[in-house]
């Protein structure tokens, strides 16, 4: 047996931290990075007698998510208590949703792979529910004791659960990336993975190709980067296949991924699993989302990536690949739209080329997000416009871009002016340059006359060089042909 005889089955549970200003059941701030316990209110530290009050902003974000994935947003959902003891869980229970989650069903289309191999796939979602985060246990710096920081306790989370629809780590990563882009797109989560705003748990199992039953799954907890997600799944899949091929059995378990060793290891087996004793929280009424509330949230929804992609293709004539790339994230899409708005829709395609080409490469090299691009959408639009109206050539355009990147001018026009890059269109001036080049390159002239086409190109190059790139290549071609003809 080899790896190709096995099918991998993956489902993801993602915890997206909702970007509300205050916590889900208290008025304390959710800002990241404060001194320990300064953002823990009486409710967050679970003083005797305190009660939770639901933050409607968190619910609204859940509704946005439900609408964005075409899910059923439940008219009535129920908060339940998940009971377990841990020092960073102040109440001894987490308020979550169990039997009746606020978002039910839905789906996301993902694009997996690159180039020719790329394919699209729909991943179904089981549910998404609201819950509160726990605090943090700090095991370092306390000399054998544990410190408790409750700033994070009560931070709103949307737990997004997929169906086991993914069949490779690449699909899992593509799904996670799409979800990550979507929650930022609809502005419900900042997506900051280092700060834990977007965390993945992966349920992984393998089965023989053709089998109809799922294999026994193990859950990999708390993966906080796409790279770790991929590495952890790949390791886990290989471990499960090896185990089964050696005649062993996979036991249901929760495992942790160690980024240093690249391995997963057992945290607890099914036998050790908690009995969480879920029951409806009597301190909270059932959550009712009226059709009216839903309609108001719907009215405030931004255009979603799928719709925007279709519009780019239908109205602006982009290819499917370009449209997909430019709607991969809210920031890229915003930048692109701003550029096209400034340049005019007739230039939608060259704007796309610049963003996906030179700008993307330069940002990548500088390790910058597009939102932090030194060249603004307006500046880029000015540049694209000047190329289109033949003020400069594409080659000079790259120079102007570099100048804008380095802050050498406020606009493409300013750079062109200051550096005298305006394309030379005066045929007299170009003819003069041609005459000089012909005089200095008699050998090339002779070769051309002898039928060597290459020699013509060399002459064009010389003229362009003489013009410092400012002559229009087309015009040089035309005039040179006349002279030699």
């Amino acid at each position: 047996m080899s790896r190709t005889d096995w099918e991998v089955v993956i489902g993801l549970e993602v915890h997206a931290q909702l970007n509300t200003a205050s916590k889900i059941f208290s008025g304390a701030s959710t800002a990241f990075g404060a001194e320990p316990n300064v953002q823990a209110s009486a409710v967050d530290i679970a003083l005797p007698g305190v009660l939770p009050v639901l933050n409607r902003g968190a619910v609204e974000r859940a509704i946005r998510f439900g609408l964005a994935i075409g899910a059923h947003v439940a008219e009535k959902s129920v908060f339940a208590r998940k009971n377990y003891f841990y020092p960073d869980l102040p109440k001894g229970y987490q308020i979550s949703q169990m039997d009746l989650p606020v978002v039910q069903g839905g789906a996301i289309t993902i694009r997996v792979g690159e180039g020719e191999q790329a394919y699209e796939k729909t991943v179904r979602l089981t549910r998404a529910h609201l819950e509160e985060d726990a605090g943090k246990s700090l095991h370092e710096d306390f000399h054998g004791m544990t410190g408790i920081d409750l700033n994070r306790a009560g931070t709103p989370l949307l737990e997004i659960v997929s169906e086991p629809d993914m069949r490779s780590s690449a699909e899992a990563v593509a799904y996670a990336r799409s979800l990550h882009a979507l929650v930022r797109w609809i502005d419900i989560c900042d997506g900051n993975m280092q700060e834990g705003s977007f965390r993945c748990d992966a349920n992984v199992s393998v089965r023989r190709k053709g089998a109809t039953e799922f294999g026994t799954r193990r859950e990999i907890k708390n993966l906080n980067s796409f790279r770790f997600l991929q590495q952890a799944i790949d390791f886990e899949v290989q471990w499960q296949i090896d185990t089964l091929e050696d005649g062993g059995r996979v036991q249901q378990a929760t495992v942790l991924f160690d980024p240093d060793s690249g391995e997963t290891r057992m945290m607890r087996s099914k036998e050790d699993a908690h009995d969480y004793r879920y029951f409806p929280d009597p301190d909270l009424l059932p959550l009712v989302v009226s059709p009216d509330w839903k309609a108001r949230v719907q009215a405030g929804m931004p255009e979603l990536p799928g719709a925007m992609k279709a519009r780019f293709m239908d109205e602006w004539g982009l290819s499917a690949y370009d449209a997909t790339t430019l709607t991969a994230s809210k920031e890229v899409a915003d930048f692109y739209q701003a550029t096209v708005t400034a340049a005019g829709t007739a230039l939608a395609k060259p704007c796309a080329n610049w963003i996906m080409g030179d700008l993307a490469a330069r940002l990548n090299k500088a390790e910058l997000d597009i939102a932090a691009s030194p060249v603004s959408a307006a500046q880029l639009a000015g540049l694209v416009t000047r190329i289109a109206d033949n003020t400069i050539s594409n080659a000079i355009g790259k120079k102007v871009f570099e100048a804008l990147w380095n802050g050498e001018g406020a606009s493409a026009d300013e750079v062109i002016d200051k550096q005298g890059l305006k394309q030379v269109t005066d045929s007299g001036a170009i003819e003069a340059m041609i005459d000089e080049v012909l005089a200095a390159n008699q050998k090339s002239v002779d070769e051309f006359r002898a039928g060597k086409e290459k020699a013509f190109n060399a002459l064009v190059g010389q003229v362009m060089k003489a013009s410092k790139g400012k002559a229009s290549p087309a015009q040089v071609n035309e005039l040179l042909k006349k002279k030699l003809g």
Binding site: L47, P48, G49, V53, P87, P282
Partner: protein
């Protein structure tokens, strides 16, 4: 002055016949002198009370007094009080000074009422005799060998012995009405959601409701009016205008003031299980109601007997979760010596909780466990709905329901110590009211053969507090049971 009603105290304060400081001192001195016999208080806050009384006197002098400005009262120790020890009758919170006020406490503070201190109670409000308190049992003012009832036994005993004119309490399964009956005073538990639970340490969240104790229905009406009102910090608080329950009692006395009132008598409450002396007093009280113009009709609450099993699943289930926060990590008792984390939890909770609390946590943990949840918790919720439906059906035929508050008068201290189930059964007439979320009131209506008070319970539809208080008030205008005092308050 110690027997004065709240309206009489109001007039005396406003007429400067007595100052609030003098009035507070009078009751504080009584507590000092008499409470060692009763153990009704866990904490007496003399300094806080006198400071508040001085402020109240200033307010009265400025002509800005409200109904309760300058009036002393006592809070059940289940309510959080800023800067004052708040124990809930438990070793677990024996060192807990609350950094904030419960909603009820802050409302009463704002009106200028004077908190004398915190009253004893069954640990975490779990009990019907006030014997489960870490601070020791409270004695019944009518007979120190008898229990005062529970869980608000300290508040009831304090009012009965006139250590405070009025007191707050909470009622999860009868914890206001039953001690009111045992101590011969009036107590009311309003509709669930009328009194905010914010700052009221939770026992069983879906059943807990704050309530009021007084010598009379009128005093209860004045206190309850000051305790109610929407609180956005409690999601189960009902958003409705506050009511002035006392205003409804102002109509002049008449020969037949309750003409037209239909009183339902549940067949099941009168069938069996009621002691002869209790039955006699209750039936005499009902006869008195007829004399006041009311008519009676037999009604049925066929599922009422299921209230005990339903309650003893739902309340422990909720308490097992509510009390998880008492883990020794952030406040309250923590075991002095322990090994690992699990050992700290185990020892802290083993030491911090008493037997009855542990029993209910264990029961609650069990009924919520995987595989048992449907059979116990969901089934109990079904029974709860049936019980609520029974009341609604009965109230189609009457304006309020009357019956005994308890099957017997107060029993002897220690009598049920080894038989918790027997004690659970004694709540047969009160539990169903909490399960249905209805308002209930208990008022004194006579004495048993042992010389201990008997309580008459009135139950009404949702938000019928004013009707219950009025019915009790008219009865009290025509009778003097509510003016009887135990020897300690003579």
């Amino acid at each position: 002055m110690i027997h004065a009603s709240l309206p009489e105290l109001r007039r005396a304060l406003d007429a400067r016949q007595i100052s609030s400081v003098e009035l507070a001192t009078l009751f504080l001195d009584r507590i000092d002198a008499l409470d060692p016999q009763l153990n009704a208080f866990i904490t007496v806050d003399r300094d806080g009370a006198l400071a508040a009384a001085r402020a109240a006197d200033t307010r009265i002098a400025a002509g800005q007094a409200g109904a309760l400005t300058g009036i002393p009262l006592a809070h059940k120790d289940v309510f959080c009080t800023e800067g004052v020890l708040t124990t809930c009758g438990s070793k677990m919170l024996s060192n807990f000074v609350s950094p904030y006020d419960a909603h009820v406490v802050s409302l009463l503070k704002a009106t200028g009422a004077i908190s004398l201190g915190k009253t004893n109670m069954d640990e975490f409000a779990m009990g019907s005799s006030n014997e489960s308190s870490f601070y020791g049992a409270v004695k019944n003012p009518w007979n120190p060998e008898r229990v005062p009832g529970g869980s608000s036994g300290g508040s009831a005993a304090a009012v009965a012995a006139r250590l405070a004119p009025i007191a707050t309490g909470t009622d999860t399964g009868g914890s206001v009405r039953q001690p009111a009956a045992f101590c011969g005073i009036t107590g009311i538990k309003p509709t669930y959601g009328v009194v905010s639970r914010y700052g009221m340490i939770a026992y069983a969240s879906s059943l807990d409701q704050g309530g009021a104790f007084g010598a009379s229905a009128e005093d209860c009406a004045l206190l309850l009016s000051a305790m109610t009102g929407f609180d956005p910090r409690d999601s189960t608080s009902l958003e409705r205008p506050a009511e002035d329950y006392a205003a409804a009692l102002a109509a002049p006395a008449a020969a037949r003031p309750l003409e037209g009132l239909r009183i339902g008598l549940p067949r099941e409450f009168f069938a069996e299980g009621m002691a002869q002396d209790v039955r006699a007093a209750v039936e005499a009280a009902i006869e008195q109601y007829r004399a006041l113009g009311a008519t009676t009709v037999e009604v049925s609450l066929p599922n009422a007997k299921l209230a005990i099993p339903a309650y003893y699943v739902i309340a422990p289930a909720e308490c097992s979760s509510n009390l998880s926060r008492f883990d020794g990590v952030r406040y309250g008792h923590r075991a002095a010596e322990y090994g690992d984390l699990a050992d700290m939890y185990g020892k802290t909770r083993a030491e911090g909780f008493g037997a009855e609390v542990k029993r209910r946590i264990l029961v609650g943990t069990y009924v919520l466990s995987h595989g048992y949840y449907d059979a116990y918790y969901l089934q109990a919720q079904r029974l709860r709905r049936l019980i609520a439906q029974d009341f609604q059906a009965a109230l189609q035929h009457c304006d309020l329901i009357a019956g005994p508050t308890t099957p017997t008068t107060a029993w002897a201290l220690g009598q049920m110590a080894d038989d918790p189930v027997q004690m659970y059964l004694s709540d047969i007439f009160t539990l169903a009211v909490n399960l249905a979320g209805l308002p209930g009131l208990s008022q004194p209506c006579g004495f048993g053969g042992d010389g201990l008070p008997v309580g008459l319970q009135l139950i009404g539809d949702y938000f019928s507090e004013a009707r219950l208080l009025n019915a009790a008030h008219r009865f009290q205008q025509a009778t003097d049971w509510h003016t009887r005092r135990p020897a300690i308050a003579a």
